[in-house]
Amino acid sequence: MCLAVPMELVEKSEFRGVARLGGVSRDVNLMLVPEAGVGDYVIIHAGCAISVLSREEAQRTLDLLGEIEGIGDLGGKPA
C-alpha cells in the first residue's frame, strides 16, 4: 500500500509534471515536493511525488556497504 518507486522527473509545470521509469511515463502531482526539478529522481506513490531522492545519500549508502568488513559505522545518524 505504501509502495513507492523512484522515477525521473522529465517535465514540470508548477504543481504537475511527467515522470519516467524505464519506458513508462506518467503525469504526477508535485504539490508535496515543490523543490523538485527536471532531472531529479522523485519517489512516486499513488500518482504523487512524496520525496526527492538524494543521489548523494544513495551513493554514500552504497559506498558504506562496499566498506563493510564486519566493523565500522553504517551511518544513518547525522553527525
Binding site: A4, G47, I50, S51
Partner: protein, 369 residues
C-alpha cells in the same frame, strides 16, 4: 532500474548477511511493521539468511488489512446509490465486507471505478458533474497527504461533487499499542515511506522503551543492512532511532505534506480490523473541509467493533503474537481466492505474503520461536 537494482544485488546482500552472522551476539526478536517490508523479507528468503537467534515478526502495517468490514460495507452502500460513483484503489476491490466485496457489488450494478490516484477521482468528478464522486481513502501517513493534495486540487478546480470516505489510519498510536502486547519485541524495522512524510521523531515512544528503531528502505539490501544496524545497537546496549533509508527519508519528514495534513484533516477515533478500536488513530476532514466528508454527505454512521470468523487468529498475527502457520484456517479454508481474515485480504497481508511466497520452509523458519 536506477536506484533500485543496486539495492537488490545478491553479492552485496550476502556480504551484509555475513556481517550479521559475524556480529550477532544475542537473541533478537525484530518486528517489521510494514507490509512492504514483509513482502521483501519473504520473497527474498531473508529470514533464512539470518542467524538462528534472530527472529523476524510481521506487524500490522497494511492499511488494506486493517480496514474494517463495516468501512467496506459503507463504501458499497455509497456505490449502490444511483447518484454516486465510488472511486477506489485497486487493492481494496476484492476485500470482503460483511456480505460481499466492492467487486461483487460492482458485478451486481454498483458504481465502482478503480483509480490509480486520488487525483484521477477528482478528474472523474469534473467529467461527471451530475454524479457525486466519492474516493475511498485508505492508507497510512504515506497515502493521507496524497488524499489531502487531491482535496486541495478539487477545491482549486471547483469540483464540488467530489468527496472522500476516509478510512485513513495513523501509525504512532498503533506502535505504542504493540509495546503492550504479549510478545516481547526487541527492536523495530520502521516503515520508510511513512517516515518520509512524518519524520523520524514518531518512534521516540519505542526507543524510550529500550527498543532500537531503524527506518528502512524496501529492497533486500536495505532490510539486511537495517538488521545489521539493530545488531550493532544491541551489542552497544543502546536503543536509538537511525535512518537506513537516508536516500529518501529524513529526520524532519516532508514539511509540505505535514502542513497539508494539518490543514485538511484532524485526528478521530478509528477501528482497526483484527485489533479493535484505537483512540485518535484515524483522520477526518476538518473545518471548512468537512464538506468533502462523504460520511457526513450521505449520513453514514460508523459503529465500531466487529467479530472475526471463529477460528481466525488474524488479531494475534497483526500484533505479532502468532504466525500464519499457527492458524487452523491458513491454506485450508482461508486463501487469497477466499480470504477469511484480515491478513489474507490484501497482497501485503502477512498470511497472503506467506501463502504466495513463503513455502513451508519459510513458514518453518519464521515459526522458530
Amino acid at each position: 532500474m536506477k536506484y533500485l537494482s543496486e539495492f537488490r544485488d545478491g553479492a552485496l546482500a550476502k556480504k551484509v548477511a555475513d556481517a550479521i552472522h559475524a556480529e550477532s551476539k544475542t537473541p533478537l526478536r525484530i518486528m517489521e511493521f510494514c507490509g512492504g517490508h514483509t513482502i521483501t523479507l519473504v520473497k527474498y528468503g531473508i529470514p533464512q539468511m539470518l542467524p538462528e537467534q534472530i527472529e523476524m515478526i510481521s506487524g500490522p502495517g497494511c492499511p488494506v488489512c486493517v480496514t474494517t468490514k463495516k468501512e467496506i460495507d459503507a463504501a458499497i452502500e455509497i456505490a449502490r446509490r444511483p447518484d454516486a460513483v465510488l472511486a477506489s484503489f485497486g487493492d481494496m476491490i476484492r476485500v470482503p465486507g460483511t456480505r460481499e466485496s466492492l467487486q461483487q457489488a460492482k458485478s451486481k450494478g454498483a458504481n465502482v471505478a478503480v483509480v490509480y490516484s486520488p487525483d484521477d477521482a477528482v478528474k472523474l468528478a469534473l467529467e461527471q458533474p451530475a454524479k457525486k464522486v466519492v474516493f475511498f481513502a485508505v492508507g497510512f501517513e504515506t497515502t493521507a497527504p496524497v488524499t489531502a493534495a487531491a482535496i486541495s486540487y478539487a477545491r482549486a478546480a471547483k469540483a464540488d461533487n467530489f468527496f472522500i470516505y476516509s478510512a485513513h489510519k495513523t501509525t504512532p498510536a498503533i506502535l505504542a499499542a504493540l509495546l503492550d502486547g504479549e510478545v516481547r519485541l526487541d527492536a523495530f524495522i520502521c516503515p520508510g515511506h511513512v517516515t518520509t512524510i512524518t519524520g523520524a521523531d514518531i518512534y521516540k515512544p519505542l526507543t524510550g522503551a529500550g527498543k532500537p528503531c531503524i527506518v528502512s528502505g524496501f529492497e533486500p539490501v536495505d532490510i539486511l543492512r537495517s538488521v545489521l544496524m539493530i545488531v550493532r545497537q544491541a551489542n552497544r546496549g543502546v536503543a536509538e532511532t537511525e535512518i537506513e533509508y537516508t536516500r529518501v527519508a529524513t529526520w524532519a519528514g516532508n514539511a509540505h505534506a505535514q502542513k497539508l495534513l494539518a490543514d485538511i484533516f484532524e485526528p478521530c477515533d478509528a477501528v482497526w480490523r483484527g485489533i479493535g478500536p484505537v483512540p485518535m488513530s484515524g483522520l477526518t476532514c476538518k473545518g471548512a473541509y468537512a464538506r468533502y466528508n462523504a460520511a457526513r454527505e450521505f449520513g453514514i454512521s460508523f459503529d465500531g467493533d466487529e467479530k472475526e470468523t471463529p477460528g481466525c487468529i488474524c488479531g494475534s498475527i497483526l500484533r505479532g503474537m502468532k504466525k500464519p502457520a499457527d492458524c487452523k484456517l491458513f491454506r485450508r479454508a482461508c486463501n487469497p481466492e477466499n480470504p477469511i481474515g484480515a491478513c489474507m485480504v490484501s497482497d501485503e497481508g502477512t498470511c497472503s505474503v506467506y501463502y504466495r511466497f513463503g513455502g513451508s520452509h519459510a513458514e518453518a523458519a519464521h515459526a522458530k520461536v
